[in-house]
Point group: C2
Chain length 140, copies 2
Amino acid sequence: MTTAVTKFSRQRESIKEYLMNTKEHPTADAIYAKVRETFPNISLGTVYRNLHFLVEHGEIIKLSCMDGSDHFDADLSPHHHFVCKCCSRILDLDMEPIEHINTLANAHFKGRIEGNVTYFYGICEECSLAAEHDTPNGQE
Amino acid sequence: MTTAVTKFSRQRESIKEYLMNTKEHPTADAIYAKVRETFPNISLGTVYRNLHFLVEHGEIIKLSCMDGSDHFDADLSPHHHFVCKCCSRILDLDMEPIEHINTLANAHFKGRIEGNVTYFYGICEECSLAAEHDTPNGQE
DNA sequence: TTTGATGCAAATGTTTTGCATGCAA
DNA sequence: TTGCATGCAAAACATTTGCATCAAA
């Protein structure tokens, strides 16, 4: 079996570059809309194929929140995410590591725990402020 | 506006009873297959409608792991879950509460954190043993 | 009787895939 | 030239929904 060679692709570069320059944690569909500004003919299939490729190669991370569609993030530094119950946005959290919870989980567990996926939820600052001023933050 | 009344339904009871008597954390489809043994004519739509009803009324919990489909759990006691990377099973963890991580997350965060969803992953005992004996645990 | 619940099927939303063509190496 | 990547469309899934009918109250 000959190892498959990865060829350069402007579409893939464009997807990765967009992800590296945003803090939005976009969905595949949002990435498709954005990259289409540069490549009007790019297909959604290509976007999905490249996102899968980038995740498999550890160049980006896939976030599976509980809102039906996956989100993507090119920030590989260890960090956790916050999901706003109000506007559904995903925000990065600047917090202490919580890897010790793996040890807690392993205490009475017979298998081997290698890590955890944690999402925090609540109301983001913008939505709190919007609620106070009675002007709901329409962001979706 | 008159408040909607909830009527008894044998199908809903059957779904809830199955969930209360299993530790499998089944998907809607698995629940459908199981309940069909008792109600051969039940439809998948009814299963989804009742699962949604039960979740909304706090009688069961929906688990959104990262495997495409949702899982359901009638165990309402506070506990966390483990997902096996090998056989994909979801297991209950018996562990100390980790609610203090919410405080850690809130330290430098401007919004309000209300809680977290945490999944631990790794290799379960059965899959570890199966690997040792070179007889992969075929459970999916 | 009234109206919520069901079965069925169609629709929806997300993601994957087959295939002929395009393009990097 | 070779063969990976693309565009397009169809398919595959998971889930939701419209509607006529059923059944609980």
